[in-house]
């Protein structure tokens, strides 16, 4: 979706504000939101579903609330979507219906193992990569109304494949319960003047990871940069 979370390339947010000696959590509620989000995600949905929940926040609220408030909103949205929480319960904090969790709650030993081993997004499925390092590609100009990791700023732009990362779960389907649809993931290099315009002198670039369904082959003529 063309949501407010897709911030790349905007220049209207002013200077970057840094804090000296910033704590990991600024207040206790941030710590508790972090912990709840990490442990409830498996009950409510996947990481992709959790990201998409935050993307569906009210855009004004998204910009005017902090990161852990995004996570809190995400827990509430996913809890509702999964049918495990009801609006009235979220408002009151008291359980008013019996819901059946998909699994027992995680114990501390499982938490340790989960942090240690992680949750790789690679899959053994072999969909042969169409593109190779050095290939010219174009990010497709797609109007995706659901979750996608194809930011607006690369759509329709031409770049060059700089790495092939293997076969990864596709977030556009995973976020909507439509299957993992694992497919080749590439790193693509885009020159700054291709992305942002050539009216300013630029010699920098952006590298971004894009799934095969986001890409199409691109003819090389007309490029102003050698690779």
């Amino acid at each position: 979706m063309n949501g407010i979370h897709d911030l790349g390339g905007m220049t209207c947010f002013g200077p970057i504000v840094r804090e000296d000696d910033e704590p990991v959590f600024h207040s206790d509620w941030e710590r508790r939101v972090f912990a709840m989000n990490m442990l409830s995600m498996g009950q409510f949905g996947s990481l992709d579903q959790a990201r998409h929940a935050i993307e569906r926040m009210d855009p004004a609220a998204y910009l005017s609330t902090s990161y852990y408030e995004h996570w809190l909103a995400g827990i509430e949205i996913l809890g509702r979507d999964s049918g495990l929480l009801m609006d009235a319960e979220i408002a009151s904090g008291r359980s008013e219906h019996t819901s059946t969790p998909s699994r027992p709650p995680l114990d501390p030993e499982f938490v340790d193992a989960m942090v240690r081993s992680g949750s790789p997004s690679t899959r053994p499925v072999s969909r042969r990569p169409t593109f190779d390092v050095g290939d010219s590609v174009r990010a497709r100009n797609l109007d995706v109304r659901g979750h996608t990791r194809l930011p607006r700023y690369v759509r329709g732009k031409r770049g060059v494949v700089s790495a092939v990362h293997g076969t990864h779960v596709f977030p556009d389907t995973s976020a909507h319960g439509l299957g993992e649809n694992p497919q080749p993931l590439y790193n693509v290099r885009f020159e700054a003047d291709e992305l942002w315009g050539d009216n300013l002198a630029r010699r920098d670039c952006v590298h971004i990871d894009l799934w095969e369904d986001y890409l199409e082959a691109s003819p090389v003529e007309g490029r102003s940069h050698e690779q």
């Binding site: 804090e19 600024h26 207040s27 508790r32 926040m57």
Partner: protein, 219 residues
């Protein structure tokens, strides 16, 4: 979704309010958030979706066990051990695993090396993806709209704000973490550190240099 608190914060710069700081949350707002969080927490506990001891455990891990000291050890090792550095640049997850780090949000690591010709800087424009096993949880500025929006289009102005001047003939590469690949910058080893031990080198390496917004300063 509904937003049950006031958005009209005070702010002291030109853009929209930047609430990513404790200072921009009033006591009333923090109280309201504590209550909202308390309600959802009791609900999850009562429904048997989460356990209190597990909640405490995961917060403890990320507050106390993981942080940029891990990444600093990776960088220092790469500076003193050329074979390790080569493995790190070829298969970062495996090389970082040699030092005992890895796992959640670091399953697929890539290390990018700063050189006299190339300066790398890392962002996640769509959310706030970050290599947790080697850097811990990200600072608030990394998650802010100001950083996420501007570093891709105008990285040099962002680096300047961090006090990092990059010569015109140096290429700036911005790495946008749009998938599950997590990036760590291998900064240049400062001159004058030839006699330092690996442990002493690790103490020089700060978080921001491994994100790529600063360099490692000589001692």
């Amino acid at each position: 979704m509904s937003n049950d608190h006031d958005n009209d914060h005070d702010h002291d710069h030109g853009g929209p309010p930047n609430p990513y700081h404790a200072a921009s949350r009033s006591d009333d707002e923090n109280r309201a958030l504590e209550e909202r969080v308390g309600r959802i927490e009791s609900l999850l506990l009562e429904k048997g979706l989460v356990r209190q001891d597990a909640l405490d455990r995961i917060a403890d891990i990320y507050e106390n066990d993981l942080g940029p000291m891990n990444g600093a050890k990776v960088v220092a090792r790469a500076w003193v051990d050329a074979a390790f550095k080569q493995r790190l640049l070829e298969d970062a997850s495996a090389a970082i695993g040699e030092l005992g780090y890895g796992g959640l949000q670091g399953e697929h690591m890539v290390v990018v090396e700063n050189t006299p010709e190339v300066h790398n800087v890392v962002v996640c424009t769509l959310c706030s993806c970050y290599p947790w096993p080697v850097l811990g949880l990200p600072p608030a500025w990394y998650k802010s709209p100001a950083y996420r929006s501007r570093v891709v289009i105008d990285p040099r102005s962002v680096l300047e704000e961090f006090g990092t001047a990059v010569d015109d003939d140096v290429e700036v590469r911005v790495w946008d973490s749009s998938a599950e690949i997590r990036y760590l910058v291998l900064p240049e080893r400062p001159t004058g550190t030839e006699t330092l031990t690996e442990d002493q080198l690790a103490e020089l390496v700060e978080r921001d240099a491994m994100i790529g917004v600063t360099r490692v300063a000589a001692p």
